[in-house]
Subunit: 336 residues, 2 copies
């Protein structure tokens, strides 16, 4: 089975991926801001043992044993946060497909994460809850009958659930309606950000929408709320794409020229690559570019990321060589 | 046999084409600035008759009977001058390969022109003189034992010979040595100009070098002088290309990106096309671009010219559609 991020999924022309996160803590150990060295080690030992008993092909890996490129690559694929990658007591439990990635000693003792390509929040939630139940048989969770799951992080108390989707909105960005759209989403008590940094300069026109509320709401309600938002976004982006597409030879010309540049460049920076891939994904999704599939664009996106590229090639590269190797791998993926 | 301008020739990585022109006038008819309507008609009738007797598959065509696109296409291919294309008494005698194009009632009564791809001034001269001898048996030339062939145009008196070459000098242009080079050529009593207009803004980095002297010099001496110049230019351009090529991934990257744009654009103006083709020709000649041959670049150059494109498609186009059709034919030529 391929890594989830190389696959395409439900509505993945707009919804790039879905993530479910469940925050859990161990009853007999203090929350993260009060933990001492031996507490961190206790969490590691308890979770390593528990995870070893639940299956799913999960490998338990200590971050301190991993090299920088491997960790940076996990960050690039949004499997762990940049801050967590520096954590000397951190560990992850991850399967080969990388659709399950449990973070240990992050802001909570345990953060179960399940990922999918496309819109699959329900499926992800079901799998996350299944893992959660199995872990609960091994671990005493910090739980309160009134509030639900307890956490150091107030925003996680209750269900401990955070659902998020990465949405690709190039047409809304191009037609100038993106800010209006993002304001509406914020009004629904959701977080919005550009995945690579600030909200309004989202690289590659990819935005991350995530839920906020965890208290006084069920898991199913959270997912449902998010689904409504996602449907609204899809509707708006599709309408914007239709407007863009109408006999628009300029758009076709611009996107195909970028494809030509991508396919034939001999060196290309990550920044330029992201920008071009966003346009090209739009072109593929609009049926303009026939030379590529969504799956190939996924591959292009993943293997052109700096650390993932170096991880794949098995060597560290300076910026100059990185840009040359990026151009080479692009050609390989396009021509294979 | 293909049109000469679609072929490649001797040294054609730098010398795009060679032309020999012989200016001749008819003894019993006044020179061009003193001609009346019936004189023009007499020239047409004498030359049509003479040309009909010399062979070479020459067709005698009156400019006034030709449509605008056909005439503009001849201008684009540098077979006739823009001014001459407007001449209501003008005619041409041209063969299918278009390497022989005799202009009637231009600045002289008869201007024999012979063209080749690459450097072939000697061959062209031999053919032009052969045609000239055959015509001389049919026509009384205006000739003076002291001066040689007579002409309305003082610069043609004597041999009536003008030799010219089109040279492609992108590397000299890029290394900033083009002006120095052009000054040296001028010092040798030769004319230099950008073929599409002014000397210093030569489009596509193509320059036309032509001889000036016709009096007190033999045909063979003229050609020899030009050959020396051409060898010097080739040497300089080659040295500049070697400097450019040395491990220059930036150059490779820039040229290949332009190739990508050319190959995938959906609309492209003539101006952009000329600029890109000059870079691409350099890339082909430097062995950077493997996807194309010199012959294909010739085809791209010829069929993307505005009138030649419309002539080929058999319809007139506005600018918008012209740019779209240009992109289509580029794709056809590249992919065939």
């Amino acid at each position: 089975m391929a890594n989830w991020y190389l696959e395409t999924g439900n509505k993945s022309d707009i919804v790039r991926s879905s993530r479910i996160r469940l925050a859990r803590n161990i009853k007999e150990i203090p929350f993260i801001n009060k933990m001492r060295k031996d507490d961190f080690e206790k969490v590691l030992s308890i979770t390593e043992n528990a995870i070893g008993n639940i299956g799913y092909g999960l490998k338990f890996l200590l971050l301190k044993d991993m090299d920088k490129i491997t960790k940076d690559s996990l960050v690039e694929k949004h499997l762990i946060s940049p801050e967590f990658s520096q954590n000397q007591y951190g560990a992850i439990a991850i399967n080969d497909e990388e659709n399950i990635c449990i973070m240990i000693n992050e802001e909570d003792h345990i953060r179960i994460q399940v990922f999918s390509a496309g819109e699959n929040l329900k499926g992800n939630l079901a799998l996350a809850l299944e893992i959660d139940e199995k872990l609960e048989k091994e671990i005493n969770y910090a739980y309160n009958n009134k509030f639900g799951f307890l956490s150091n992080c107030l925003a996680a108390v209750g269900t401990g659930l955070k659902a998020s989707v990465m949405v690709h909105l190039p047409a809304l960005a191009k037609t100038g309606n993106i800010n209006k759209m993002l304001n509406i989403i914020s009004g629904f008590d959701m977080n919005v950000s550009g995945i690579y940094g600030e909200r309004l300069s989202a690289k590659g026109n990819i935005y991350k929408i995530s839920t906020k509320q965890t208290l006084g709401i069920t898991e199913a309600e959270t997912i449902k709320k998010m689904s409504i938002i996602v449907e609204k976004i899809i509707e708006q982006e599709k309408a914007a794409r239709e407007i863009l597409l109408k006999g628009n030879i300029e758009l076709e010309d611009r996107i195909y020229r970028l494809y030509g540049i991508l396919a034939y460049s001999r060196k290309i920076s990550y920044e330029e690559c992201i920008k071009i891939l966003s346009e090209i994904r739009l072109g593929v999704d609009l049926g303009i570019i026939e030379e590529l599939t969504d799956a190939k664009v996924n591959e292009l996106e993943v293997y052109t990321k700096p650390a993932t590229l170096q991880k794949y090639l098995g060597k560290t590269l300076d910026n100059y060589d990185e840009d040359i190797e990026r151009a080479k791998i692009i050609k390989q993926i396009i021509n294979k």
